[in-house]
Amino acid sequence: MDYRVHLAKRMLTNKKGSLIGAVLAVSIGILVIHVNFVIFQGLYDAIVRDLSSYRFGDVRITDKESFITKSDIFLVNWFERIPSVEAAAARVESSASINVTKHGKLIEEFRVPIVGVDPFRDPRVSTVHETVTDGQYVFSRNSLVVGSSVARDLGDIRIGESLELKVIDRHGQDQIRRFLVTGIVSSPGGQGLDTSVIVHIDTLRDMLSREGETGQVLVRLNDPKQADNVKEYFLQTFPNDDFRAETIEESAEDALRGFRSGIAMINMIGYFGMMSSAFAVVTIQMMLVSSKTREVGIMRAIGARRKDILVLFIIQGMIIGAIGASVGTAMGLSYTFYAKETKMTFQGSLPLQVSYDWPKIAQTALTAFALAVAASIYPAFKATKLQPVEAMRYV
């Protein structure tokens, strides 16, 4: 082994306090980035996951102008023949007015989004049915599932009560129908249909006078990474139907754009934290150089070149960087593992979608290592400037 490597190791192990301080500085820098990633990327991915699960699917098909007139059965069957497609289902969306009455007297009228779902196919593409906290999901033409926010606005409406909904059909006529409340949905994080009401798709089609038409077709994939391929294949197959096909990122662009900027800023803050760690390494290395002035003088006196001294302290930086990057990555991975296994949530919000982003983990470790080495260059350079005859006076 090169004597400089050996000496650098010994010098560090004999200054355990400095070594631990420098390693902690590097590892905490890495840990901060891992924690940021787990929380903010996890939150972003959780929102994407929930928007995909509840509202948009992995691919969403709509009409550029209005409703889809092609048969939903045809489209669903077409999609389900593609091997990478798990399931597809149609939905219709509109808005409805709800009258709140007490003792037969109108208290308030407000508008809510209304979603028409296929009770048999929808659970295969969406997990909205899993957010039913009371009662059950839509099962008949007059059943109504109410979002928890709507239920609250209606004075904590209960299962079994009836409710009148008014929609305006395609001819501009009011269509009023009474429903039986069969379920209440509430999703963690509120990305589900908590602010909507859910009815049978055919009932809503009737009310809107849009028999056989569809608002959107949600497509669930076995592998979400195939979304672009499925979308392109669909658009190429139906070039003249004015279809719009969007992946989840495109469908939820408005909701996610701001969040992405936030993540970028948080990442920047994480890297600034890592820079602070580098300054801590500079300080500790300067202390190490100061405490080794005599040794540098002795080495120079017995023939070590300036380059040898430079290499010696840079090797120290490499050792600090390697140990710090390893410890920090191990700490970060432990935190990620804990967050993933416990399905970490904050104050009952949506569970984070935690993943191991190996390229980013490697990039963070390498950046921390490189910064620790870079942070050692100046102290090492200072050490080379020590004149042996001056350094030897430090006995």
Partner: protein, 235 residues
């Protein structure tokens, strides 16, 4: 091979400028032959350590030349000076100056490790046996006594078979019994290896019989021991 291993020619070292100018060495000249055991004596502040630093290439003279083994060292670059120190000079300091982070053996190996020599451990171990430190080889250098540390320093000074070994008050930090042992060790190694030693000391009598003595007084060098009538050496 020339018989003269060291030539100091008109070396002057001046510190400061103007009113604060101090002449630490003034026109010092002398030469040393291979195998000589030379003492440089003088009172504290006379300039003997400054002279040793010049010869050891740890400091540069303001004027004059220092020629070691036929090489004029004043014209060497920083890297060449480092290599020269490593290959041609051995150092023994007052406080032994072993690296506390290394074992005794590793300290003695260090001059050869700097050259990336592969048999460094073997040569260092041979020398440590010769100075009686066989049993202490693998101890950390700060875990041995002052006398043992100075023996290790002698071994380190000799390991590269240098042209000249420079010792700066090598017994200055030792009790009289240990000091006597160290002096005898240096003398015996000098004889056994035909090794040139240049030893700076303020205590002439501790060393007994030596080949030559040079006295430094007020920055000037005189042949022999300090006597008022001695003539300044000129080459």
């Amino acid at each position: 091979m020339s018989d003269t291993v060291l030539e100091v020619k008109n070396v002057t070292k001046t510190y400061g400028q103007g009113d604060t100018k101090v002449n630490a060495l003034v026109n010092v000249s002398f030469s040393v032959k291979r195998g000589e055991f030379l003492l440089v004596v003088g009172s504290s502040g006379s300039g003997k350590s400054t002279l040793l630093n010049m010869i050891g290439l740890l400091d540069k003279p303001s004027s004059g030349q220092i020629i070691i083994d036929g090489t004029n060292t004043t014209s060497l670059s920083d890297n060449q000076v480092s290599s020269f120190r490593n290959l041609k000079l051995g150092f023994i300091f007052q406080f032994s100056n072993l690296l506390a982070d290394l074992t005794v053996l590793e300290n003695v190996m260090l001059p050869q490790s700097i050259q990336q020599r592969h048999n460094a451990a073997q040569e260092a171990a041979t020398l440590l046996r010769a100075v009686g430190l066989e049993s202490q080889m693998n101890k950390r250098s700060n875990k041995i006594s002052g006398g043992q540390a100075q023996r290790a320093a002698i071994a380190r000074g000799l390991v590269n078979k240098p042209t000249i070994v420079l010792a700066d008050e090598p017994t200055g930090n030792l009790d009289s019994v240990t000091a006597e042992t160290i002096i005898q060790l240096m003398k015996s190694m000098a004889k056994k290896l035909n090794q040139t030693f240049l030893v700076v000391t303020h205590d002439r009598h501790q060393f007994g019989d030596v080949d030559r003595v040079i006295t430094i007084k007020d920055g000037r060098a005189f042949e022999g021991e300090d006597q008022p009538h001695k003539m300044e050496i000129t080459i």
